[in-house]
Symmetry: none
Subunit: 125 residues, 4 copies
Amino acid sequence: MAAEFASAQPIYLQLVQRLCGQIVRGAYSPGERLPSIRDMAIEVGVNPNTVQRVYSELERITVAETRRGQGTFVTSDQGRLRRLREELMVSHVTAFLHDMREMGFTAEEVLQCWNELRALSLPEE
Amino acid sequence: MAAEFASAQPIYLQLVQRLCGQIVRGAYSPGERLPSIRDMAIEVGVNPNTVQRVYSELERITVAETRRGQGTFVTSDQGRLRRLREELMVSHVTAFLHDMREMGFTAEEVLQCWNELRALSLPEE
Amino acid sequence: MAAEFASAQPIYLQLVQRLCGQIVRGAYSPGERLPSIRDMAIEVGVNPNTVQRVYSELERITVAETRRGQGTFVTSDQGRLRRLREELMVSHVTAFLHDMREMGFTAEEVLQCWNELRALSLPEE
Amino acid sequence: MAAEFASAQPIYLQLVQRLCGQIVRGAYSPGERLPSIRDMAIEVGVNPNTVQRVYSELERITVAETRRGQGTFVTSDQGRLRRLREELMVSHVTAFLHDMREMGFTAEEVLQCWNELRALSLPEE
DNA sequence: GTGGTCTAGACCACC
DNA sequence: GTGGTCTAGACCACG
């Protein structure tokens, strides 16, 4: 079930973002154990070293913590997870607004485009 | 007036995006001459090679064209510019929707965040 | 009363150092029985295997000895304990001097910093 | 001139510490360019990947910064360097005091040992 | 030339 | 079994 990593962004960052997303939307519970580095590597079809880097990064931003010989776990600090969710939303929305402004789009245009696209590409929501 | 290029994205892509934005919102008119590579390089504080690559990229996507010995000009094909504008908006909104969905945000949350941030960071709009 | 083992150093080495410290400053008397592996494991909140390794290490450096079926005991060789104390101090001070020199600190600076920190963090001494 | 990395600590952390020390004591000036990853790797006899990690870490703690395609430079923020010097000293002295206390050494003992060792091992200072 | 990423495969310490 | 480090060597994008 190897996923694709088409974006120009490094794989490890894409993975970090994906995992943050999954954690933030509850696909992993607070304190839950993530797949082992080797398993995750197989699952997403990348080298274990790359997953290692991803997990290190998650630990660095205190979203996960590793216990020696036991595995890597989502932080059980629910406040941290709430803040992460907020941070992710704010940063994405900020970047989006910045881009839109840079291209001189009006809020009305963007909202209209949004509504059209949401109907098309997110019917399952 | 050297700008910052803090993002992890390559400088030349950041410049391409910025120029596309300026063109699309009319800071450069159709057919208008862009600054020379050297001037642009000085203006934004990067290596002329980088600007060279930017202009090549703009040409590749038929947003600008270079005339030997005369310089690089925004395309005068206004239809192309209209399409570019549309493309940029659609691609950005699509990516944005994708990210938001991946993190399990609801449309209401996003809109609320949007409104808060717009008030704060885009007062000049 | 699980302790924290935040350092990058292996838990078992941290425990060895802590026990050496306790032995050397007399928290355990010469010949005194150390807690059983299981009790110690519970007390400090680590895996019994880890304590097993700690006790082996203490035995290797002839600071403790285990008697089959009876437990692990601090050596009753008081000369050994005196030497251990000396060794520990010398090695720590040596390493400290080395680090300070490597960073170009003068003795005066270090002593001043020492005095400030001692007042702050070691009031109970 | 390959150095040895005997300590149990990872090579990359030893290198980070060594470089911090060199920077802090002025072996590298603020804003000075560090050797390229490949050169440094040869110089210290490790793999370029390891040096890469070292430089990333230096950047993470804002002690160095990398400029794309140009190299890695000591930060020119002299305030940062002063703070780094202070941080390094405080953290080392704190750890030292902690260890000494854990082993029940008195300040007098430590100072005496210090003076003896300083005379022996640091005559060049 | 520079730094950045990725893979493959190894070895280690820890639990 | 787990994560952590290191090497070797490759490829890429950038300046």
